[in-house]
């Protein structure tokens, strides 16, 4: 017998066994079990079906109430979020942050004045009418709209002069320094050049900028002969 034949015989054996197994394991259950079990099965199935139908009906009845509750919860969440906005803005104002004008107007309209805010936030776009809040330089520095428009703030000028007075006698050449407006020649912001954000009130202590000893120079940067500032115009 060749290999194929042996394989066929093996397969036949297995098929025969499977058939025999089908017949061998098939057993007739006890008729008494059938007689008692089947009515119970019918009863249990009917009860289960009724229970399932009741559950489905309850689910259907609960669904609209649940959706109404969900809508209410969402509405409450939205209201809470809206109520939180003014609180956040007020908190920011207390922390020293300048809140947008629109928000300040809204607070003003209900009679609440936010702390740490510019007093006249809507007025004087060139900075001339702005009232100081105690930190003039920073206010001036913040008002970027004023830069380079010939309208550097008076507050910045006052501050620079105060610094200059303070430094008087402590450094050589304090009247010759490059600080804007310290020599009373050119008011800050009038030169047509954008002033730096810092005041540099003490001038140049190393005395390099000695050109200020000469006749009053209309240029706001008297030390333009010095290195690095060589942009002075030759008249």
């Amino acid at each position: 017998m060749n290999g194929d034949g042996a394989y066929e015989v093996e397969m036949d054996e297995v098929a025969l066994f499977e058939n025999a197994l089908r017949a061998a394991v098939r057993a007739k259950p006890d008729p008494a079990l059938r007689a008692t079990l089947v009515p119970r099965l019918a009863e249990i199935a009917r009860a289960a079906t009724l229970e399932e139908e009741g559950r489905a009906a309850r689910r259907a009845a609960r669904a609209p109430a649940a959706s109404r509750r969900t809508r209410l919860v969402r509405l409450a969440q939205a209201c809470a979020a809206v109520a939180l906005v003014p609180l956040v803005l007020a908190g920011l104002a207390f922390a020293g942050v300048t809140v947008p004008g629109l928000a300040r107007d809204a607070f003003d309209s209900v009679g609440i004045t936010l702390p740490n805010q510019p007093a006249e936030h809507g007025a004087a776009p060139n900075g001339q009418g702005t009232q100081s809040t105690g930190n003039d330089v920073s206010d001036a520095a913040k008002s970027g709209a004023n830069r380079g428009k010939g309208g550097n703030s008076a507050a910045a000028h006052r501050h620079a002069r105060a610094q200059h007075a303070k430094a008087h006698g402590k450094a050589k050449g304090h009247t010759k320094g490059k600080a804007i407006g310290l020599n009373d020649l050119t008011p800050p912001g009038r030169s047509g050049h954008a002033p730096p954000s810092h005041s540099n009130a003490g001038g140049s202590p190393n005395g390099r900028t000695n050109s200020a000893r000469a006749a009053p120079h209309p240029h706001p940067f008297p030390g333009s002969h010095g290195r690095g500032r060589g942009r002075s115009r030759q008249h």
Partner: protein, 183 residues
Amino acid sequence: MPRDRFDSLLEAAREGDQAAWHELYDGLAPVVLGYLRANNAPDPEDVLGEVFLQVARDITRFDGGESGFRSWVFTIAHHRLIDARRHSARRPIELSPEPPEPGDSADDAAEEALARIGLEEVQRVLGTLSEDQRAVLLLRVVGDLSIEDVAKAVGKRPGAVKALQRRGLASVRRALGRKGVTL
């Protein structure tokens, strides 16, 4: 059974129709009982009763055709068999303490095969299989379940079921060859 016929039978069973339950029980109880016996279930008729009680309780959740129903019932039977085994001490493998009363609807080919091999030989060969191999072969042969359905019933991957079936059939072949079954 045509799909429409089975659907109406199932609907009647859900509504508690006893005739429908008689039909379902008569169609499945003999093979399920055979499966339980062949797997050495302790008190197989008790386990059979538990299987059908669970079928009745959960029949509202079943959705599918006749083969799906058969597969579902065998899955329940397999789980109840495991539960029953856990609650009883292990006993040596034997198909039945007494030869069971044969079922009345095995086909002629099966009866002829059994006559040639013999009930005792079938029991002996089954005894050579591991528990998993026996469960897989019985679900495939007796329950007529697909590989996927068997995998669901025994909680294994189809590949593992195929491997168990292959090894089980190899064991059957060896056991029959040793005995020298004549064809």
